[in-house]
Symmetry: D2
Subunit: 452 residues, 4 copies
């Protein structure tokens, strides 16, 4: 190469290096998302730091990161050692400096993203685990139990989502269901029952209250009771990061009450494949204890997915996604109102505290006056699915069916309460949805409701 | 296209389809491994069956498999929904018929591989979990506890590998360390102590014995005690699938004694990235119970890695890997003997039951008569690592250091016993190692031992 | 799989198949561009039709499409046989039904794209060649010569771009330079000189006129002279597809005059890597003759790039790109006017017929009154390049330098005419440019002009 | 990262850098082929040097390497600018320092490979062109004509492969067919006719002799005539690099006679996709003239394929391929002899000078005494193809068919001579063939010959 071209190349590489240095020194989302090729260069460069990728490496241990398939090697950028060491999932692996760096950076980027999402200073540290929310909550509970071994109860305001309940049972703990209360269309947590239960079981026997933020039937998360009675508090914030109302409520809980851990799904909040969860805490030592309690190594794949995605979004991209979702919610409700009106079936449930999902009541009157036969209510969901609409759920309360989950019987499982006054259909305005999605869904729902 | 070309294309597609049909109907490893492009075609085809990849799909739920980054989408072949449903990790997801199919097929292929590896008919069912062995053992213990809730002890013949012990502690159980006994160079399990401990603690209070097969210090896995006293038996078979001696021993244990679960690492046995474990059991209902106890969904990535790898190996490829490893072990020992002789330092430990790892004793006499200064013993490992040799471990028993793991104190941690008579270096002849690796390692070790 | 999931999968596959069938039956750009994964599925499916990808294939010829490197195999989707047969570049290869299908479809898609771009019915057929415009024009000229072997002159209205001229020389033909004329800022073709030259050399000795549409100094393409004198007419329309004014002018030339071939670059018009050209003609037999004159096979890579890109754009995406470019041109000119005004250097050249590039005159007065030293005029381009702005060109007419290309001497080479009254800088508003590009360029240009 | 890990990473990167530096300084094939990931890292790093990949790049020209499709960008590693400048295909592009570097390195690596293949010091320079052999030969002829414009004849010892002949015609030259002579089974060049033709047409009117090395019917390439009469000599060495007998013969021709250009296919010799050719010459200035005669830019894809493949092979890998091919030839002949004997049909043609392909004579006697009906002779090829055997060709001389190629009539086209005494089937033992291929082919051929 001649001198001039050499200068140009040097310049090009320095532009790239300045991006990298910025990331390594600030440990925050880049202002603007990186291009895919820049992300791939960076990961490839990091990957060279893992011993299995050393050109002259020889492995004489039992776990040397050998990869048989080139497809597999490629899809993981040659990263084979996973994350963590046997003593601490957060510890740096000597054999895998690159994998460890990605894990460390991802935790930093996620912390930054949590703050952008509204958790702000309430959160001191976080940890991305390569397990989905259910198993992560189980591990969180088991970690809490290490310091309060006699406490075997978890107070659990009812939420009809199986894995929450199962995570308690899996952790060999006993869930105490706190039934919700109904005010008009809205289901809320019965704080009075919680307090009575704490008193009757004894705070020393209660490991924690597990509240849930993000769900069609949200309840105000416990604010002061846990602090007052010194029982733990785990917030299942599965997909709540996408809504600033929820994150601000959590921040308030931290300030006024007690919060030990807040657990969120990576896939539901950051558009990555299922398989990761983010545990955040107001106390860094809580996170430290969790990391140390994890036995052994773990898959690095969900962490890498998040790393790539956050670099790709950048601060601007993530903000735009959050804003778009927020702006599309009233549009979605409007469009559904129009459908409901036009078809003459149902009404939008009045649950203003729900900022992600909302419900469309479809009661028996609707059915009798419409083309929908009664037995079709529960068919709406599957009819929609057959028209390539996924995610709409029908809650048929008229059947009054009982269901047993984790050896506990529930009436009208799915509606979060025994006696919701009407059957309904829920839809969600979740991160990544587009106006086009909503428009197409409206058309297809109308056809289904008109039995066309 | 004209008629003739149409015929040819049809023929090409039918060759491909016949591979696929063979797999779907026999559910076993293909005799000969598939080419990478065939594997990729197949996964792409399966991926189309997941709703997020439906061309006309609209998602109005909270979890719709939207992927933000094209890098991420591509590396997962568009598979976003992970595996499992909230009720059962093994259950088919309606939204993700493709992902579910891969999971199902992988379990079948792994079962076939277990049989090729020598577990034969002793194993009735297996399950691949997207967690490494430590966390998987924790889940296994918690599952066993569901049916024996009062039993909180786990008898644990000492093995100095942190995550085993931690998996017991994480599961809120109490490990009872069974110290090993020494016969010449060999460390073995003290069956008598186990029996005495069962008697003294009461079988009803003991959840299980956890034995370990694959380790430099292997012990005969419990054969008849667990059956005799009706306590559970979990075998930590981390990397033992690669050795038929070990798998035959397990089969014998199943026949003569009691085995509840056998847990093995996917990365150590099948050359995939860290992040998965295979749980096998002589009773399908044990596996079923485990699957149902897992709370929520999970990452599909480690399953896909295994799926790809097994299709790529085929029966012939897997057998060849097993055979090569077996044949390289005596060669490796020979080469090490030569090095030891030539350098005049150390001797090969006589532990014929160890069929994967072996040790090179380096005692103080060696050191005094050699160029190695005393303080250099523990440096050998790091010196090797600086020469791009990873995995060799130095056990320095002369220091007599204590270490606390899971609140239990151990003397000479790493040597599996309090008073091993000599310091030593371990190396492993693990699956995927090549003759060239051994030759290069011999050269580099010699240089290190000669302090060059 | 159960019945319901089977239905869903079938449905998913049928959505995919309907896209494919639509393409195969209509042979036009899809209305909406396809997602990347759909494109990759399709190419993978097609690739299976090539004999080297037949699972049971054995090759015993000299050219069997064996690929050594998996990287290479993957980047070509396993397509190894290139395009064409020795007799005809457009002929279907028996060994490579898939590659042949892609080539055929690409020609159809390109024809559709040409019509969207404004060539409409004037064009009867087209051919994508895996050679850039220069070599493609050479082949086109050689093909024309087959039917008029004695004609060795090509009349060539001067355009200062080397490869045009070289393509005539390479084809062993003699270029006759037709000097342009100047009207105010505008350079145009001197039709009178063309006519005189035809008469003086004799039409029977002239193979063709080669006119150029797309260039900072465009000229009205020959309209009626070629028809009148029965000489051929090749239009070098290198990057002219992106501008409807140019395509309409070509259509008019076809209607009123004679056009044998119109040649355009794939990279400049469709945002693919350099390496392909599209030859279009009002007469399908011209294209047929060209295809038959190409000796042997050729690379399929540039065709595949175009195929992927056109499927990815779809009709909507291509239209949007064309519209955006059109709308950004006045914005670009405005921004440059502002810069010029602010800096007090130069003026925008008044060349309204130029709809892609435009010029900024920078004469000596500008220089003397500005911070720019005289010798800096020609430095502007390289200064811009050092600030990561590529593509701006400085034409320094004051130097009056002579340059010899293809053994012909030119004065002020680069300015398309001997005596352009001012030096200038050209920039282009080409397909794919963004508003952000223009804004950033304005900033950087300002800095350069102010010598900061 | 802590200090120790930093050291390790530095070490890893220095291992990588030492590979790269070795390549850049020696410009020869690496002794051992590089791993795929190392190759990809290197190309990605180079790719950063092209201006379209500068992170802060803004393009305001007409050709800025913008890529619309991410699939396309990825498959070309972001390299968009192709190779060459309008003045010289070998010239470095200022906008594309990376692409230019790859081109330069590839030419060096190819030169090294040519020497390994046996061309040794006879060759002074070479050039890889992104056009297959046919078009490359046409360009070569046109280049030769620049310095001898009046010479329009090309003496062409008959070889029945269309694109050779067409490349002469495409270049607007007149082929003079030199009929071959037959000695037993062997077809050879008639040197006497060549000499007579040179004398009768006049050496000054003859551009060159075009001889062909690699073909079932090889002839001794002209040795001294071209030198004696001062006419050019182009050797079409399409797939001859894979055979040292051929390369040594060429070296001898260079020493004793005159050789202007030797042209070889990249796909046939180096297992890359169709689309490139290597032109080598004993005189560097010949290569220079060719490079300068190429008009404009060109696709970089075939060059990149070769670059990747040569790095992947390394010297050892390439040698191994050459050796394996050589060793398999006698095996292949033996196996075919056995088939022929067993079936009782045909005999192996005695053409020991053919070291790549060989023929199996199948005359009418064979047919009458076998199960093959006469009309089946020509069906053998297509029957084999229907059994997934490609590349075997049947030459049916009994039909005596005439065929016109490039306006010249040939009798028994395909057999390279008018009156070959027998019909036959040719197969090739080409680079990349495996023993398994030969075994499977033997089985299938037997079935076809036995009409099963």
């Amino acid at each position: 190469m001649n001198q001039k071209n050499l200068e140009l190349s040097t310049q090009a590489i320095s532009q790239y290096n300045s991006l990298i240095n910025n990331l390594l020194s600030h440990r925050k989302l880049p202002d603007v998302g990186w291009d895919d090729n820049v992300i791939e260069w960076f990961i490839n460069e990091i990957s060279m730091m893992d011993s299995n990728n050393f050109i002259e490496n020889i492995g004489v241990g039992e776990r040397e990161g050998r990869l048989y398939s080139q497809i597999v090697a490629r899809r993981h950028f040659g990263l084979a050692h996973g994350i963590g060491r046997s003593g601490d999932i957060n510890e740096q692996q000597p054999k895998a400096a690159g994998s460890s760096l990605i894990q460390k950076l991802t935790n930093y980027l996620v912390l930054d993203a949590l703050r952008i999402a509204g958790l702000e200073k309430s959160i001191d540290a976080c940890l991305v685990l390569p397990m989905a929310t259910g198993m992560t909550i189980a591990l969180t509970l088991m970690t809490m139990r290490q310091t309060k071994p006699k406490a075997t109860y978890v107070l659990w305001p009812r939420i009809d989502q199986k894995s929450c309940l199962k995570s308690i049972v899996t952790a060999s703990l006993t869930p105490i269901v706190i039934e919700n209360q109904l005010i008009d269309d809205v289901i809320t947590t019965n704080l009075q029952t919680i307090e009575e239960t704490i008193k009757s079981l004894g705070a020393e026997n209660i490991l924690c209250v597990m509240s849930t933020t993000s769900c069609f039937a949200p309840r105000i998360p416990d604010n002061e009771l846990c602090k007052k009675y010194d029982v733990g508090h785990v917030i299942n914030n599965a997909y709540g990061l996408q809504c600033t109302k929820i994150t601000h409520q959590i921040s308030q809980s931290v300030r006024l009450g007690r919060v030990d851990y807040v657990v969120q799904s990576t896939d539901k909040n950051f558009m990555v494949p299922v398989g990761g969860a983010i545990v955040a805490s107001p106390l860094a030592e809580n996170i430290d204890r969790l990391a140390k309690n994890y036995p052994g190594r773990a898959s690095g794949a969900p962490i890498l997915d998040l790393f790539i995605t956050l670099l790709s979004m950048g601060r601007a991209g993530y903000r735009r996604l959050l804003d778009e979702r927020k702006q599309l919610l009233p549009y979605f409700i409007d469009e559904m109102s129009k459908v409901v009106k036009e078809v003459g079936v149902g009404r939008i449930l009045n649950t203003q505290a729900n900022t992600i999902s909302f419900g469309i009541a479809i009661d028996s009157n609707d059915v009798s006056k419409s083309v929908l036969a009664k037995d079709n209510i529960s068919m709406i969901g599957s009819k929609l699915f057959m028209r390539s609409c996924s995610g709409a759920r029908v809650i048929d309360v008229q059947s009054g069916q009982k269901k047993s989950v984790g050896n506990i019987d529930f009436k009208n499982y799915g509606s979060h309460i025994d006696n919701y006054p009407t059957s309904y259909l829920t839809v969600a305005c979740a991160i990544g949805i587009t106006k086009e999605d909503i428009d197409l869904f409206s058309k297809r729902l109308k056809k289904v409701l008109m039995n066309k």
